[in-house]
């Protein structure tokens, strides 16, 4: 999720002026120029077609390889990714069930300890500071 290079990093204002200033300006111009040209190029349909051609080919290769690997693992009497995923799904269902049970137990426990635990929490009575009127954005 990159942003303009200027947005990364902290304060730069303290850097003294120097002979490299022209180079810095050049980098900024290069970044803006390349981004603009690339955005124009990537905004056309041909780019989308090419991009998804490559993605589809990669997905196809992955699917083919996955099938071959699954056959190989079955021959070796080893579990495949799908088998492990299926175990994961069952574990997750057990985890969800445990969470529900934990929640029920903690609800029952909360009823007993509520007064003391609430006493440790901050008061919920804060009011906003008075502000100057007319300072609208």
């Amino acid at each position: 999720m990159s942003e303009n290079a200027d947005n990364k990093g902290g304060k730069k204002q303290e850097r003294p002026k120097g002979p490299l200033d022209a180079f810095r300006d050049l980098v900024g111009q290069w970044e803006r120029g390349v981004n603009q040209i690339a955005n124009e190029a990537m905004g056309n349909e041909q780019f989308s077609k090419l991009m998804h051609g490559a993605t589809s080919a990669a997905a196809g290769a992955k699917a083919g390889l996955g099938e071959a690997m699954e056959r190989y693992l079955a021959t070796m009497n080893l579990p495949s990714r799908a088998d492990i995923t299926s175990i994961g799904e069952r574990l997750q269902a057990i985890e969800a069930q445990l969470n529900r049970l934990t929640e029920i137990v903690s609800t029952m426990a909360t009823v007993e300890v509520a007064p003391s635990s609430l006493a440790l929490k901050p008061k919920r009575t804060r009011k906003p500071p008075a502000r100057n009127s007319g300072a609208k954005s």
């Binding site: 999720m1 990159s2 942003e3 303009n4 290079a5 200027d6 947005n7 990364k8 990093g9 902290g10 304060k11 730069k12 303290e14 850097r15 003294p16 002026k17 120097g18 002979p19 490299l20 810095r24 980098v27 900024g28 290069w30 970044e31 390349v34 981004n35 690339a38 990537m42 905004g43 056309n44 349909e45 989308s48 077609k49 991009m51 998804h52 051609g53 993605t55 589809s56 997905a59 196809g60 699917a63 995923t85 994961g88 799904e89 997750q92 969800a96 969470n99 909360t110 609430l118 929490k121 901050p122 008061k123 919920r124 009575t125 804060r126 009011k127 906003p128 500071p129 502000r131 954005s137």
Partner: protein, 355 residues
């Protein structure tokens, strides 16, 4: 000072910096990853990809209404808590808010079947129930970032009277047709989303990361040059590394959720046209009656203003505000400029609505 003396002085400074760059550069390459997300917190709930944090209050008296931050599903929530002194969460805690965050872990393969319904009608309401139990308050303000904002909008629109007390959105897209590059890349004519999801299950994080990077392909290289130029400046390097770590820490997306987002929002633009149906109910933005604040960035390359500007006119609230601030998609919320521009603006709006 004469021109010749001035030139000599500037050259001398540049040589000094070059020497420092050498030393600090070695230090940069040998030091570990920066620490992030250091505000003290309890993990209130975890369920699959869902994580609910409760940050420890930093003041003795907090506002009555707690705040639930809903993070975007593509990225980690620590962008809002980068480091002490540079943390949106810490700012809110010091300003007197009771802060919760709905953050996301990478969905495991078994979670490929999660849909928008799971996020909007299950995860968010569960977090709100947990917050009510923790605080004893039934009111909550929901604040969503980017796609977390979309989820927050959907939740609020569908929850009716039982929705949050206040809704805050940061750079939240409504008209997906205005996200021009993403539109072209996910073109229905060429993009076989079914094949992608059926093959991979969850969408790999590299794919998500690459699509964000492609929006500004030269920026990474330019950022590296800027880093080298400023490597003598410890403060700059620290902030750069924190943001860089976050930028590279992209999450995979649950397969069905991605398929649904692509078909319903990117292709159908149904949130904008009012045809989006979630859990059997049509999403009507006009049904949102709560106070709404939408903060958008002037130079947002991910969610351009044209995509975001429709939220405020379409919600049914009487108390609604749009604030446009300088900055980009990330620098709106994190970093020195956000601390100066956005954080106080939010506090000003939310404080008086949190009592």
């Amino acid at each position: 000072m004469s021109a010749a003396q001035d030139t000599v002085e500037r050259l001398r400074r540049e040589v000094d910096l070059a020497i420092q760059r050498g030393f600090k550069g070695v230090n940069y390459l040998t030091s570990g990853a920066p620490e992030v997300g250091q505000s003290r917190k309890d993990v209130l709930a975890t369920r699959g990809t869902m994580r609910l944090y409760h940050y420890h209050p930093l003041v003795d008296e907090v506002y009555r209404v707690p705040v639930l931050i809903v993070m975007a599903t593509t990225n980690r929530g620590y962008i809002l808590d980068l480091a002490p002194g540079n943390s949106f969460v810490e700012y809110l805690l010091k300003a007197g808010y009771d802060v919760f965050m709905l953050d996301w872990a990478a969905p495991v393969p078994a979670e490929k079947s999660l849909r928008i319904e799971d996020y909007v009608l299950d995860f968010i309401p569960e977090c709100i129930r947990r917050i009510a139990k923790e605080t004893g308050e039934t009111d909550v303000s929901v604040a969503g970032y980017c796609f977390g904002g979309v989820l927050s909008v959907l939740y609020t629109a569908l929850a009716g009277e039982e929705g949050p007390k206040n809704l805050v959105c940061f750079t939240t897209p409504i008209d997906f047709k205005q996200m021009k590059l993403f539109q072209n890349w996910s073109s229905q004519k060429h993009f076989d989303v079914d094949r992608l999801v059926d093959t991979y299950g969850n969408v790999p994080p590299e794919m998500i990361h690459t699509s964000f990077e492609m929006l500004r392909p030269a920026s990474r290289a330019a950022a590296q040059v800027t880093l080298w130029d400023n490597i003598w400046n410890d403060e700059f390097v620290r902030a750069y590394r924190q943001l860089d770590r976050w930028g590279n820490d992209t999450l995979p997306l649950a397969g069905e959720y991605f398929r649904q987002t692509t078909k319903e929002l990117m292709w159908g633009n149904k949130l904008f046209t009012g045809e989006l149906v979630i859990g059997g109910k049509r999403v009507d933005l006009g049904a949102i009656r709560q106070p709404v604040l939408h903060v958008v960035a002037e130079h947002d390359h991910i969610v351009p203003y044209e995509a975001a500007r429709h939220l405020i006119p379409r919600v049914g609230s009487k108390d609604k505000t749009e604030v446009i601030l300088k900055g980009g998609h990330v620098s709106l919320l994190a970093g020195a400029n956000a601390a100066r521009r956005m954080w106080p603006k939010l506090d000003e709006w939310l404080g008086e609505r949190s009592i």
